[in-house]
């Protein structure tokens, strides 16, 4: 059963998981932030604030390292609190290659088939995890513009290494959670981070339980994207060449949540379907906008659970009446929205409020 599911899921899951990563440091393209208010003076006691933020941004791909970390995620759905806790093995060669391999699952309890399926899914998310899941600086200028960073006084040791602790908070309205991170003094790597709600409830946590700057690289199964992913150089308004390769006219958000800017546009081809993935960010959090153009391939059998999607028949537009139906789900700090327009689809997911998501969508049509 697991083998059969592997084949079916390998293609469909890869779109938003494995294909997520091009070997480009996060925040290396896109936004031109207009930094206006940074509480950077608090960082001066540990050196240059800009240097520290820059090190945090670049360390994951520039520092050769390896180790095992424990991750813990909490989210609420339909009034039920869910928790996932597991170990993960990390290897990076400092030259852009990396590998994330799932380890022991602590919670919830799973059977062997469940664990194997879960490990497969985790591996399919490998690229996405490395780029977008963890606390990190995606774009330095935006980060400095939107977040205040406070260095806590007492250094701590994580995995036997001395770290500086920082508290990171969103400036102004739009704050939905806060972060505390332990930054390795030598490398700038984030060895531990926690995310909590403004009320103090734990949302996520990651911590290296063992760490080395000299990992064994022989035999490492480096991440390779199985999908065709092409980074689009043009920005908000795609060039004629990009539009030609994309094959459809995408909807562009004219209104963005406060502090967000376009960071990356990518064209992804999966099973004959072309997707445009736009990643917006405020320097730390991301807003993902995925759009699929008209399907040009003959219908192919879809996985069982795809056909069972209960909302598929509802998320439609009725062009004649000029109405667009937006299906929105609030899951913890996250807001998910889907729109089906004609034969295309548009998804939005981000750690922003529902009004911001609706404003974004309305500005795109």
């Amino acid at each position: 059963m697991v083998s059969a599911l592997r084949i079916g899921l390998a293609v469909t899951l890869a779109l938003f998981g494995a294909a997520a990563c091009e070997r480009v440091p996060a925040g290396s393209t896109g936004a031109q932030a207009t930094a206006s208010h940074v509480e950077s003076s608090k960082l001066n006691e540990s050196g240059s604030d800009t240097a520290l933020i820059e090190r945090i941004q670049q360390a994951p791909v520039r520092i050769k390292h390896g180790g095992t970390r424990r991750l813990e995620f909490h989210y609420e759905s339909e009034g039920v609190e869910h928790t996932l806790a597991y170990l993960e093995h990390v290897t990076a060669d400092g030259k852009g290659n990396f590998a994330l391999d799932p380890g022991q699952i602590e919670q919830p309890a799973m059977s062997t088939p469940q664990r194997e399926m879960f490990e497969l899914l985790q591996k399919q998310h490998e690229g996405f995890f490395f780029r977008y899941r963890d606390f990190g600086v995606r774009q330095r200028n935006l980060f400095e513009a939107n977040y205040s960073v406070q260095v806590l006084g007492t250094p701590i040791a994580v995995a036997g290494r001395m770290c500086t602790q920082i508290d990171v908070r969103r400036i102004g309205r739009g704050a939905r959670s806060t972060y505390r991170a332990a930054i390795d003094d030598q490398t700038g790597l984030v060895l531990r981070w926690t995310e909590t709600t403004l009320e103090g409830r734990l949302l996520a946590r990651s911590e290296f339980v063992d760490f080395t700057l000299d990992p064994v690289l022989d035999g490492v199964d480096w991440f390779v994207s199985p999908l065709q992913v092409e980074s689009l150089q043009s920005g908000h308004d795609l060039s004629a060449q990009d539009l030609a390769t994309l094959g459809f006219q995408p909807h562009s958000l004219q209104v963005l949540p406060p502090g967000y800017q376009l960071l990356r546009s990518e064209r992804i081809v999966e099973s004959g379907t072309t997707w445009l993935r736009r990643v917006y960010g405020d320097g730390l959090e991301n807003l993902f906008v995925l759009e699929r153009g008209p399907d040009t391939t003959p219908p192919t059998p879809t996985p069982q659970h795809d056909r069972a999607h209960p909302g598929a028949q509802h998320a439609t537009t009725t062009p004649g009446s000029g109405e667009i139906v937006v299906r929105i789900c609030q899951a913890g700090e996250w807001t998910l929205a889907e729109v089906v327009h004609g034969s295309g689809q548009l998804f939005v997911i981000g750690k922003v409020g529902e009004p911001d998501v609706v404003d974004c969508l309305q500005s795109a049509f």
Binding site: F118, L121, R292
Partner: protein, 237 residues
């Protein structure tokens, strides 16, 4: 002390000088004083000698250049003032009747035209001068080309002036009419085209309780941002 060197009495000094120069005559009292005062008597003798000697000196005129230099150094600019002042101090002298009659025969006054001309020149001095001197300019005939140019320029200016006077109201009327036409067309286009203007679609928001009710592709993205947590829950394994 030698009597000749004795000083005169101070109260007699001025009188003795006056007697020596001849300005005063000697009298009995002075003679009595001189008889008993050797100082005054000797001093009077010396003064009379000096006066006689000075009166016997000849008059020698100063060199001409010295006179000029002295006057130039000490009185430069004052001579004119003095001359002016002297003129001012002169009493006005009425013109003798004979002279007046010689100019204007008795019983006749200046002709009115003269009065008018004088008055005009006094009131308009610049024009009066120009008029008098212009009359002395020789009149020359302008070249034909210059005459033609002046005539053409004058004619064009005259025509423009006349045309402008006539067409001011016409232009205003035309501009107002054009404005009305433009406004009417704009209003018509707006009213006619309004129903065809693109209007944004109406958004209908449907709230979904669980991410599991959303598109699978969106579910997978959600699972990814949550570290795979949704993948570990509620799956039909």
């Amino acid at each position: 002390m030698d009597a000749a060197r004795k000083s005169p009495c101070p109260d007699q000094r001025e009188r003795l000088v006056a007697v020596a120069t001849g300005e005063a005559a000697r009298d009995f009292a002075l003679d009595a004083h001189l008889a008993r005062c050797e100082g005054c008597s000797a001093w009077l003798g010396r003064v009379e000698l000096h006066v006689t000697t000075l009166r016997e000196l000849g008059s020698v005129p100063a060199p001409r250049d010295l006179d000029g230099r002295v006057v130039g150094a000490t009185q430069a600019g004052f001579r004119q003032d003095r001359a002016v002042q002297a003129l001012r101090d002169l009493n006005r002298i009425a013109m003798p009747v004979e002279v007046d009659l010689a100019i204007w025969p008795a019983g006749k006054s200046a002709p009115p035209v003269l009065d008018r001309l004088v008055d005009r020149d006094l009131q308009e001095q610049t024009r009066g001068i120009a008029r008098r001197f212009a009359g002395r300019i020789e009149r020359l005939k302008a070249p034909r080309s210059l005459d033609a140019r002046v005539h053409m320029a004058w004619s064009a200016r005259e025509m423009w002036t006349r045309a402008r006077r006539r067409s001011d109201w016409r232009w205003l009327t035309l501009a107002a009419a054009l404005l009305l036409v433009v406004l009417s067309v704009t209003l018509t286009l707006y009213v006619v085209g309004r129903p065809e203007m693109k209007r944004g679609p109406t958004f209908v928001i449907e709230h979904v309780a669980s991410p599991a009710d959303l598109d699978p592709a969106l579910q997978r993205t959600f699972a990814a941002v949550l570290g795979g947590a949704p993948d570990a829950q509620e799956k039909p394994w």
